[in-house]
């Protein structure tokens, strides 16, 4: 690393099923303006922009960053567009961080967005391909069989998913930006909701949201020169990928996620994640992925993730609070969902998470995954500068 980097500004939109009040440009500008204000900066202070979103087919615009250049304050500056499937929000933040860590730029604005109401993600992900049987039914249809495999392998009771869903929806009530704001969602109501992609119930699935997230990432020098007193220092970033399908590929506990996490903990000087990480924002679009990723990330042994969930250890106040913001289960602007995890982790160690703040959070994990559980992006941020 040439220099340390830190998050100095976090901004996000109010996420809703349809943000009919704004265009795509207006949507992401809402997040950008908030991030710049949070960092006490203007566009003039920004050296480069890195933008990410999921497939262009979602909005029907090819490389929308081209038309969005003015809204991003990008003219005259370098702009990169990242696309790594569902992990993109995380990968985008990592690319932005690397521009600072490499010593190339001092302050980088990074943005991720999705305006899902422009089309229909189920359609975009299920366009029939010739010669192939159209049995896929969107992301839920893709992931449900792997959830079933997890349940079989771990011996988890079948109500674990509902615990996660109820917890995240209750957490969302503490987050004014969250899409789903339903005080009546309880463990019982989740259990009673329809089986959509059996074994995944309706209330165990993420919503489809319009939303955006933006971060400002600055170098150690730039942080020192700024008035920011509580930056979120980046302690480590990792990305790993593997094929969608391969003979004997583990789709429940993917190798790429395990390897990324191991490298991340090493980079951040962490030997026991559950003891040293104060809270985690993990990409959980279907409730069961909380216990699955707890294991994949090394917070629990294989087969033990669900026990943490069942014991309430992933609730705020538990041993490893997960998705204090309400997570992807409460807001899912797909392309932005990963960056929201990264940004919420930053907010926690900045002490700016408001009602969903974990007391005394000093180190937090931001995590995203995409494709067929094959692309992983993650970072550790801390209230203190990394010491190793």
């Amino acid at each position: 690393m040439t220099t340390l980097a830190a998050v100095v500004g976090v901004g996000q939109t109010h996420h809703r099923a349809k943000r009919g009040d704004v265009s795509m440009a207006g949507l992401l500008r809402e997040a950008v303006d908030r991030a710049l204000a949070d960092a006490e900066l203007t566009f003039d202070d920004i050296d480069a922009i890195v933008i990410g979103k999921a497939p262009d087919l979602f909005e029907g615009v090819m490389m929308p960053e081209l038309y969005l250049a003015e809204a991003l304050g990008a003219p005259g500056k370098p702009l990169l567009r990242v696309h790594t499937a569902g992990s993109v929000g995380g990968s985008t933040a990592i690319v932005a961080a690397s521009l600072v860590e490499a010593g190339i730029h001092e302050r980088v604005l990074t943005v991720a967005f999705e305006k899902q109401s422009e089309s229909n993600a189920m359609w975009a992900l299920s366009i029939p391909v010739p010669f192939i049987m159209p049995v896929h039914a969107g992301a839920g249809g893709y992931f449900a069989p792997h959830v079933r495999s997890y349940i079989r392998r771990s011996g988890a009771p079948t109500h674990i998913g509902a615990i996660v869903a109820a917890k995240d929806r209750q957490n969302a009530l503490k987050n004014p930006f969250a899409h789903l704001q339903n005080p009546d969602t309880t463990f019982e109501s989740v259990m009673a909701s329809q089986m959509l992609w059996d074994p995944i119930r309706y209330d165990e699935t993420c919503p489809s949201s319009d939303g955006a997230c933006a971060l400002v990432i600055a170098s150690e020098d730039a942080v020192q020169r700024s008035g920011i007193k509580n930056p979120a220092w980046i302690h480590g970033t990792q990305m790993r990928s593997e094929p969608t399908t391969a003979a004997e590929r583990d789709q429940v506990n993917p190798h790429a996620g395990r390897e990324a996490a191991a490298a991340l903990w090493k980079q951040a000087g962490i030997t026991s994640p559950i003891d040293e990480i104060d809270c985690a924002e993990i990409y959980v679009p279907f409730s069961w992925f909380e216990p699955m990723w707890l294991e994949n990330l090394g917070f629990a042994e294989q087969g033990g993730g669900w026990k943490l969930t069942e014991a309430g250890e992933t609730a705020i106040g538990g041993r490893i609070p997960v998705n204090m913001s309400g997570g992807v289960l409460s807001s899912n602007p797909i392309g932005a969902s990963g960056m929201l995890r990264f940004g919420e982790a930053a907010l926690q160690v900045m002490g700016e998470a408001g009602e969903h703040q974990v007391d005394g959070a000093r180190k937090a994990l931001g995590h995203a995954y995409g494709g067929g559980s094959q692309f992983f992006a993650m970072w550790v941020v801390g209230a203190d500068k990394p010491t190793h």
Partner: protein, 352 residues
């Protein structure tokens, strides 16, 4: 900055690739060729990065299957940009600069012939006020060409000279898909197509894939590398506004700014990514290239323009010239977006 060199380049181009839109079949032999050039294996590559477009392929996540060509188990550190792979190379170069990785293999691919390319490209315009008119890529370039012709920035003969030189030079490039020894007079004798553009003023629809390997100097893998290196001396890119009416289309301020930041002094050769003949003229003046700079010895994008790869190809072609001693200090350029909206400049040199 760490010293980073281009150490491998392989490419495939054709009018119509008879294979899958993921182009995996093209990437497999390209990767094999790169391992032969470098003497390395998959495990010597620390970072993989690619550039491609879902809309070119007509499906979401088109880049996902391309990962198969890597053979990505055990998993790899990997990323993707929805841009020409020249920008993927930039991301990889940045990653090397952070010190997290030492080597990278960057690839791009695209099957333009799968759809109607110029119509697909109209989805790059403003989605509210321009795309509903399906303003296609050739038309937008034509508006730019006429603005320069009638504004006195260039003339028809200059455009024809670009075409004649490119097509003639392409006769020496086995990868070119349009080549012919021709003259300015021959070009001007061709009928108008999208007035003021003749067909030869427009890059041919091209399919293809390409890949480049870069390495930091201070690494064990580089110590084992037997071949020539092209050392990266400058690497910059800039974007301009999206609204066409917010730009003077006859100049390229983003190319000029990227060139100034990268440092173009002393280059003796330039590979410019100009899918339309007049765009080479715009780029040449934006970069201030003198008559002594050899432009596009490969024939350039006018003779093969595989989308999302053609910019990376310019870098590879410039590197080949540096490797062979054809250039001491070369410039490579890539473009993206309507009418040269976004531009990237890399400079490189030979070292003894």
């Amino acid at each position: 900055m760490r010293d980073v060199a281009i150490v491998g380049f392989a490419q495939r181009q054709m009018k119509e690739f008879d294979g899958s839109p993921t182009c995996v079949e093209l990437l497999v032999p390209i990767f094999a060729e790169l391992f032969e050039q470098t003497g390395w294996t998959k495990s010597d590559i620390d970072f993989w990065c690619s550039g491609s477009s879902d809309y070119l392929a007509g499906r979401a996540f088109s880049f996902v299957s391309a990962v198969d060509a890597i053979g990505a188990l055990p998993p790899v550190m990997e990323s993707h940009v929805e841009m020409d792979a020249a920008w993927a190379l930039y991301e990889a170069w940045v990653k090397i600069q952070t010190g997290l990785v030492d080597t990278a293999l960057v690839y791009g691919f695209g099957k333009s012939s799968a759809g109607q390319l110029r119509r697909v490209m109209s989805l790059q315009m403003d989605p509210y006020t321009v795309t509903p008119l399906w303003a296609d890529a050739v038309s937008v370039a034509g508006l730019q060409a006429r603005a320069g012709l009638e504004g006195g920035a260039w003339d028809e003969e200059q455009m024809a000279a670009v075409v004649a030189r490119s097509m003639s030079d392409a006769t020496g490039n086995e990868h070119a898909i349009r080549s012919r020894t021709t003259t300015v007079e021959d070009v001007l004798a061709q009928p108008m197509y999208a007035d003021p553009l003749r067909r030869w003023d427009c890059a041919p629809v091209s399919d293809g894939a390409a890949a480049i390997v870069i390495s930091a100097a201070d690494t064990p893998a580089f110590d084992r590398f037997p071949g020539q290196s092209a050392w990266i001396t400058g690497f910059e890119h800039r974007i301009e506004p999206g609204a066409l009416n917010s730009r003077d289309l006859t100049v390229s301020t983003s190319t000029a700014a990227a060139g100034a930041a990268a440092g173009v002094d002393g280059v003796d050769l330039a590979e410019l990514h100009a899918p339309f003949s007049h765009q080479e003229l715009i780029l040449g003046s934006a970069l201030g290239l003198g008559d002594d700079v050899r432009i596009n010895p490969s024939g350039g994008a006018l003779t093969a323009n595989p989308m999302f790869t053609a910019g990376l190809n310019r870098i590879g072609e410039a590197a080949r010239q540096v490797w062979s001693g054809g250039s001491q200090r070369a410039l490579a350029h890539a473009t993206s977006g309507p009418a040269l909206q976004q531009n990237l400049v890399m400079t490189m040199e030979a070292r003894s």
